[in-house]
Every structure is written in C-alpha cells, then in structure tokens.
Amino acid sequence: MRGYEVLFAGNNFLRLLGGLWVTIRISLISIGISLVLGVLLGAAMTVRNRAVRAICKIYLEVVRIMPQLVWLFIVFFGITRSTGINLSGEAAAMIVFTIWGTAEMGDLVRGAFISIPKHQYESGLALGLGKAQLYGYVIIPQTIRRLTPNIINLSTRMIKTTALVSLIGVTEVLKVGKQIIDANRYDAPDAALWVYAAIFFMYFIICFPLSVFSKKLSDKFR
C-alpha cells in the first residue's frame, strides 16, 4: 500500500478527524474557561491590595516556571494516585490547560489594563462620566482592542500545546496518527510522512486563520 492510501484506507481519515475533535474540544473548553477566569485574575492583579497582587503573581510564576508536560503528569498521575479520584486523561488535560491559560490570560488582561494611559481616565472623568460609564465607554473598549490579538495568539499556542496530552493517554489527533502509522508499519512504511503531513495540515487549517485574523486586528488597532 502507498503511504497516501493509508490516509484514506478504512475509516482512518475519520479517526484522524475524531482525534482532531478531541484536540479542539480540550482547547475550546480550556480557552473558554481561561478567558473568564483570566479576566478576573487580570482585574485582581491591578487592585491596590498588595497581598492580593502578590498571590496572583506567585500563581503566575509557579504556573509558568514548569513545563506544561510536568503539569500534565502532576495532575494526571499525581492527583489520581494520591487522592484516589479517577481522573480521565481528557479531564486532567482540561484542568492543566485551564490553569495555564488562566495565568497567561490574566497577565495579558493586566498588561492591557495598565497600558491605557492615565489621561484616558482623567479625560473621561473630566467630562463628567461616572465610574461605570468611564469603564463601559472608554476603558474597557480600548482594553478589549488591545487584548484581542494577544488572546488569539495565546489560543493558537494552547491549541498547539494540546499535542502533549497524548503522553497521558488521551487519543487526540497526534495519538490517532501514531496508531494509524503503527498499524501500517509493515505494509506502508512511508505512511508516517503522509499521516504527519495530514496532521500538520489540520493544525494549520485551525491556527492559520486565527493568526491572520489577529494580525489584521492588531494592525487595525495600531
């Protein structure tokens, strides 16, 4: 069998798409929750209270300091063993990606907030805007504009990093690809190239439009 035939043999392609769906599901859910929690974290990082800011900062650094893979192992093996709670690989993956995404998102939100010049606040106040109006009409719209391209970039990073979850036994697209390659090791030795090319293309189809979109946005808001 030729390599490319393997791609479409039996239900192989459907299985790949199924794996891709797992990737997308993990990504979408963790990105969605990270977005909400990240806004809260980012807001918390700009409050006056030093203790609150310090706690947020520690959280951010602790999350960042370790590779995502280590977090996956800690949550999947560590927590499962030590507490006896039986966590599926996918659930563990979502937890880890949410913890990581929240930290990064929070830092982006904080950065966007403090990048709004002081005079924007004062100009708004001097016009007689109340606090809610000031944030609703002046500060938050500008924050969102600055934030959107960065959020999209982070999202593509998260989508790509989900490839790691195959290492805790989640059959996402990469894992499915490996299974297909292994199953055809003898009758189609060059299948690997084709399968990985297909996977590359799938990631590309998801991430490239996002990158273009974020580039467009950041040019527009420049």
Binding site: L127, L129, Q142
Partner: protein, 248 residues
C-alpha cells in the same frame, strides 16, 4: 454671594508625600474672565487646575464652583465636572471613537440630551474650529493641532461654566500652535470663562484679562497683562519673563 463668581479658591493646600506643592492659594475667577496662569515648570500649575475639578485630593483649603464645594471623591463631583471643561496637553481624545463620537459622548451619556440636537451642535462647533470634514475620522488620522481643536470642542459642547486649559499647545509643532490658540482667542472674545496655563507669552498677553505668576506653591504676582508684561511689580516676575527673551 456674588452671582458673578464662577470659581473661588480659598487657602488651597496640596501635598505630594513630603513635598508641599501648593501652599495656600486664593483665587477668584469671575464670569467672562480669562485668567492666564504662568510659572516655571514643576511649580504646580497643572496640579492647581486638577484640584479645581476634583482630580486630586487636597490637604487644606477649599474650592467652590458657583458656591458649591468641589470635593474629591464625592458623588456630587460628576455634576460639578460637567460644568468644568478641561483640555490637557496630550489631547486625551478617545482613540477608539471617531471625532464626532468623542464630542457627542458627554452630552449624550452624561447630560442625556437628545441625539439630533447634540449632533447638530457638535457639527456646528466642529465647523467653527475648521474640523467639519474630520467628524468621521479617528483621532490617529488627525494632526496634533486638529486633535487639540477636537479636544477643545469636546469640552465645549457641554456648555461648561469654565474651561481649564493646561498647556494645550506644549506638545504641538510650532506651525500648529497658531491654529489652536486662535480658537482659544475666539472663545475669549465670545465671553468664555477660562483659566489658561501656557508658555506662549505673546498669546498670554493677547488673551488674558489677568495674569497670575505662580512659584514656590504660592501666587507671586497677579496683574493685568499690560502691567504684568511691561511693568511687573516683583523681581521674580521680571526674572521669569526675562527667560523668554533673547539678546546677544
């Protein structure tokens, strides 16, 4: 109480940390008056203006607008600020809104006036400062001078009782200074009440009804422009003015 008094400052004191920036200032501005405030950089001119519309907490004395106390952090402040127009050195236009939306924001959202009426007035004012064709542009598409004129219109459109202009041409290229200051001169001629901080001495002399020199946290001299610029009472004023003239 005198109906004519727009702003009254009594014994104002402002401290940043250990630095006393304003150390007992009294100031009265009447309706239709244009007061020019000058002084060396860092003497507290901006801080004084910011105290007048409650952008800064004060550590002593009091500020009244039409007899109503201006108090930092109070709810009543929003009402008071609607009657005080403020224009900053770096324009402070909102970059995500068109010029027209910038101008219409306060009358629509703060004063809650009808949209048609506000739009007509906003357009008329933009025409008046030569920005009629820029209404739909975003601030980043305008020159500094145009942005500053738009910012003036934005504070003007709410019909404030007094305008505070803080070095509004300091960030502009020389050729744009003129177009902005002409707008201000026009306002003065039409009876606007203003406090103007500026380093443009020729403009100050032309526009002022009264000139105030601030230094060391107090008012050093206060005189009509003719007297102040040509026959100042204090040595401090003469010395300050001499920094604006050159001879070889």
């Amino acid at each position: 109480m005198n109906e004519d008094i727009v702003i009254e400052v009594k014994g104002l004191k402002k401290v940043f940390g250990e630095n006393v920036i304003i150390n007992g200032i009294d100031l009265t501005v009447r309706k239709g008056e244009t007061v020019v405030l000058i002084g060396p950089s860092g003497c507290g001119k901006s801080t004084l203006l910011r105290c007048l519309n409650g952008l800064e907490p004060i550590q002593g004395g009091s500020v009244f607008l039409h007899g109503e106390p201006v108090e930092y952090g109070k709810r009543s402040l929003n009402k008071i600020r609607q009657k005080i127009g403020m224009v900053f050195q770096d324009y402070g236009l909102f970059p995500h809104m068109t010029v027209l939306d910038n101008v219409m924001l306060a009358p629509l959202k703060v004063q809650k006036r009808p949209k048609d009426e506000v739009k007509t007035e906003a357009m008329a004012l933009l025409e008046r400062v030569g920005l009629g064709d820029k209404a739909k542009s975003y601030p980043s598409q305008l020159s500094g001078g145009q942005q500053q004129r738009a910012a003036i219109v934005r504070s003007l459109v709410v019909n404030p009782d007094i305008m505070l202009l803080d070095e509004i041409t300091a960030a502009l290229d020389p050729e744009m200074v003129h177009e902005v200051l002409n707008v201000v001169l026009d306002l003065a001629k039409n009876g606007s009440t203003m406090i103007i901080v500026t380093h443009e001495m020729a403009f100050a002399e032309a526009v002022a009804d009264r000139v105030i020199l601030m230094d060391g946290g107090v008012i050093v001299e206060e005189n009509p422009p003719q007297k102040f610029f040509h026959d100042a009472d204090t040595e401090r004023a003469k010395k300050f003015l001499s920094t604006f003239s050159y001879s070889k």
